[in-house]
């Protein structure tokens, strides 16, 4: 990397470092396209057995303020957070056309949303316990680092080759606010957005993410969307109908929130009769029967309306649900998405150590398991 102005093509040290990073990778096949990015496979030039996903941020012609905030946040937070349940950002480089590319851990097994949607896969309560636990560990690490994720949903919980859940997409993340700072409430995909945000509370905390995890867990149980709606107002109704409308008694301070509507004034409910009182324990056990009593208690802790009473990530990890029977499924035994396997089959074979040896046989076994429940 000596600096002969002619030999390096007029590049300065930083440009050379950038190019050196880019040169480390060889681009491979197409993995998927998102709103902001194209994702390709890649591997190390010096070691093709090490595979990655390279996410190239699309140039947004509509955005006139330089590098987009989503990309900035992803760079800012993902490179700080090294944890088995958080998708690792291995490198960043920019290409000649000045698009940013993120080299990410490859998560070739799809995501939790694809998983519950795939009717070829069956899974058990112990599997749900394992997935939810990995999600909780990932978010716990974020919160310990003072980072709010703010976009937890099934499709942002990617699945690595070995079955590990990887929390991804930090495009909406931010640091915990200092007390008194206002944060925007238009965060978190609506279906996963907790009531305090819908009510316009602008100083929420880590428990907002925990609500989202609760919704993902419920989706895994139901194998369906759990709290869907078309508008923010409808979303409030859907939540209140499900869990009861909060009052000053169940959630002190709620009536002071900007968009709070008291039960007696709530007449735009989706269903026929609004359920306005908090749900009894028996309802939770009924609603989440698959999880068992302690599992129902646990998800109740996540789907608690009052953010002060809701489990924070530390509390969630201390719950007895994890140590009670059935124990969370070991990740090598977790049922796996089949589609992803086909798409990246070649890479998996080469990946050696991390390749599950009995993907298909395992799937059959799980089916039998499920039948036995």
């Amino acid at each position: 990397m000596t600096s002969s102005a002619t030999a390096d093509g007029g590049q300065d040290l930083a440009e050379q470092m950038n190019d050196a990073v880019r040169e480390k990778f060889v681009m491979g096949g197409f993995l998927g396209e998102g709103t902001y990015a194209m994702v390709h496979k890649a591997h190390y030039r010096h070691d093709p057995s090490q595979v990655f996903a390279v996410k190239k941020i699309k140039l947004n012609a509509e955005y006139h303020n330089g590098i987009a905030p989503d990309a900035i946040r992803e760079m800012q937070f993902l490179s700080e957070l090294t944890h088995p349940n958080i998708l690792k950002l291995i490198d960043v480089f920019s290409s000649k056309d000045q698009n940013l590319s993120f080299v990410l851990e490859l998560a070739p097994r799809g995501d939790l949303e694809k998983l519950w949607k795939n009717k070829d896969i069956t899974y058990t309560a112990a599997d749900i316990k394992a997935w939810t636990n990995m999600l909780c560990q990932g978010i716990w690490f974020c919160h310990e680092n003072f980072v709010l994720h703010r976009d937890i949903k099934g499709s942002n919980a990617l699945i690595a080759a070995d079955g590990t859940i990887k929390l991804a997409d930090f495009g909406l993340a931010r640091r915990f606010a200092d007390p008194g700072t206002r944060m925007t409430t238009q965060m978190i995909t609506r279906m996963y957005r907790p009531l305090e945000l819908l009510y316009g509370c602008s100083h929420y905390g880590g428990t907002a993410d925990m609500w989202s995890i609760g919704v993902v867990m419920a989706e895994l149980v139901k194998r369906d969307w759990y709290l869907g709606s078309e508008t923010d107002i409808q979303q409030v109704s859907v939540i209140c109908e499900k869990f009861g409308t909060p009052t000053e008694e169940t959630w002190p301070g709620v009536s002071a929130l900007p968009y709070y509507v008291a039960p007696e004034k709530q007449n735009n409910m989706v269903g026929t009769t609004a359920n306005r009182i908090a749900r009894p324990r028996s309802w939770w056990r009924q609603e989440f029967m698959l999880l068992g009593d302690d599992g129902a208690e646990f998800i109740k802790g996540l789907l608690t309306l009052d953010p002060q009473k809701r489990f924070n990530s530390r509390r969630a990890l201390e719950d007895k649900y994890w140590t009670n029977m059935p124990r969370p499924t070991k990740k090598e035994n977790l049922p796996k998405e089949g589609g992803g396997e086909k798409a990246v089959g070649d890479d998996l074979k080469r990946k050696g150590g991390e390749t599950p040896t009995n993907g298909r046989a395992d799937k059959v076994a799980r089916k039998l398991d499920f039948g036995a429940m």
Binding site: D12, A68, S94, D97, E144
Partner: protein
């Protein structure tokens, strides 16, 4: 289950990529300076040769278009003397000065708290691997400040570059703000998170107040909250001073005063030093607090780590070294001087900086003068060159020459005066 400050810091890019020993820092700055110096000299030589060639060509067809302002633009290209490049020490002085300007700029624009300190750390990180001769501090500072607002003000969602450019000064276009963004990102190695000592000093302050109010629950070397509280009321005013009983409200005032002084030191002085490269955020805030109120800080420290602990001497030495780094900064020393003396010293300092900025004018890399054009050329490059691999190099050459010509135009007309 809780991670310690140290656990958190160790996983940060600030620790992994941006922590150095003093020797490493020095060596990297020398290396950056050397490489930039070579480039400037090589590029200037190339441009001079081109101009000589063009002058010769235009002489032969005698087109006399080039008699504009060349003589009044003193610059490196039109002169025949060897380029006088900045040394690493001089570069650092210039960067330091622009970091001070960042504080002024932030105050002027009323940027919320972490924007300016983050901006300054970006500046210091960027110029560890880049030279002001290559990328002028004035241009880079604006974009870095913009980037820092984007990173730190996430509440707003996004910051419009238009108003930012307007606020950044006359003749500042949005394009000139955005053009260096990628260069800067590369220079920062895409690490955007900066760990400041502000959260730590606030937490320490709150803990000291808890101690005072008998509510302390942290490590206390076997003492009860009430005992620690009683001890706190007897902390001497000065190092080695006599123990004295102070009323609780006076101690509370003292704690607030120490916090406020330490925060000022952190915001206005520590950020301008190499402290972030050399020390952890907790070391930095404890050092600033030590400078503000040594007996109080040592009392607090001894609760956390007893002086009998094997690592204590090393810890204290580190804190004192960090404190020395901060307290030997020009602006910190000023606090101890009478106004006249301070003014006199500052005048000398400003004169020196002015001379250096002037010197920088005459040793800039001619290839990197107009970053907007450079940026456009690179983009054009990528778009045009994207299609066909072989034609890429050719197209790039054309594109580069385009902006090189533009850069030449900026540098003033042909070597008319020299050729004569």
């Amino acid at each position: 289950m809780q991670l310690t400050e140290d656990d958190l810091y160790r996983s940060s890019t600030q620790f992994r990529k941006w922590s150095f020993t003093a020797q490493q820092l020095h060596a990297q700055r020398q290396k950056t300076n050397l490489s930039a110096t070579e480039r400037v000299k090589a590029n200037v030589a190339r441009v001079r040769a081109q101009r000589a060639q063009q002058a010769a060509d235009s002489d032969s067809i005698s087109s006399g278009v080039d008699n504009c302002s060349g003589a009044s633009t003193p610059n490196v290209v039109t002169s025949a003397v060897e380029v006088n490049c900045l040394t690493a020490e001089e570069e650092l002085k210039i960067v330091n000065d622009f970091c001070e300007r960042a504080i002024a700029l932030g105050t002027h624009n009323n940027f919320p708290s972490p924007v300016v300190p983050t901006c300054i750390q970006y500046m210091r990180r960027f110029y560890l691997y880049n030279s002001p001769m290559t990328y002028h501090v004035n241009i880079i500072l604006r974009t870095i400040m913009y980037l820092a607002t984007k990173v730190e003000l996430c509440t707003v969602g996004h910051i419009n570059v238009g108003p930012f450019a307007e606020g950044a000064g006359r003749n500042v276009t949005t394009e000139s703000i955005l053009a260096p963004e990628y260069v800067i990102m590369q220079g920062l190695r895409y690490n955007l998170d900066v760990r400041h000592p502000f959260r730590g000093v606030k937490a320490g302050n709150m803990e000291m107040l808890e101690i005072l109010h008998g509510k302390y629950q942290g490590p206390s070397q076997g003492l009860k909250a009430a005992e620690v509280q009683a001890q706190m009321l007897q902390i001497p005013m000065k190092v080695n001073g006599p123990a004295m009983k102070m009323p609780a409200n006076k101690v509370e005032e003292r704690i607030h005063q120490a916090y406020s002084t330490a925060t000022q030191t952190l915001r206005n002085v520590a950020v301008l030093t190499d402290a972030y490269f050399l020390y952890t955020p907790s070391q930095i805030w404890l050092a600033a607090h030590l400078l503000a109120d040594e007996p109080l800080t040592l009392f607090y420290l001894n609760l956390k780590v007893p002086p009998s602990h094997p690592t204590y001497p090393k810890l204290l030495t580190t804190l004192r070294n960090c404190a020395t780094l901060i307290s030997s900064h020009r602006l910190y020393v000023y606090n101890t001087l009478p106004q006249a003396e301070k003014d006199a010293r500052e005048a000398i300092h400003q004169a020196e900086v002015k001379k250096l900025v002037q010197k920088l004018k005459n040793c800039r890399d001619p290839d990197k003068v107009d970053l907007v054009k450079l940026n456009q050329a690179q983009k054009r490059d990528a778009v045009e060159g994207g299609a066909l691999e072989e034609s890429k190099a050719k197209r790039r050459k054309v594109a580069r020459e385009t902006y090189e010509n533009e850069a030449d135009a900026f540098w003033g007309p042909e070597l008319a005066n020299k050729a004569e």
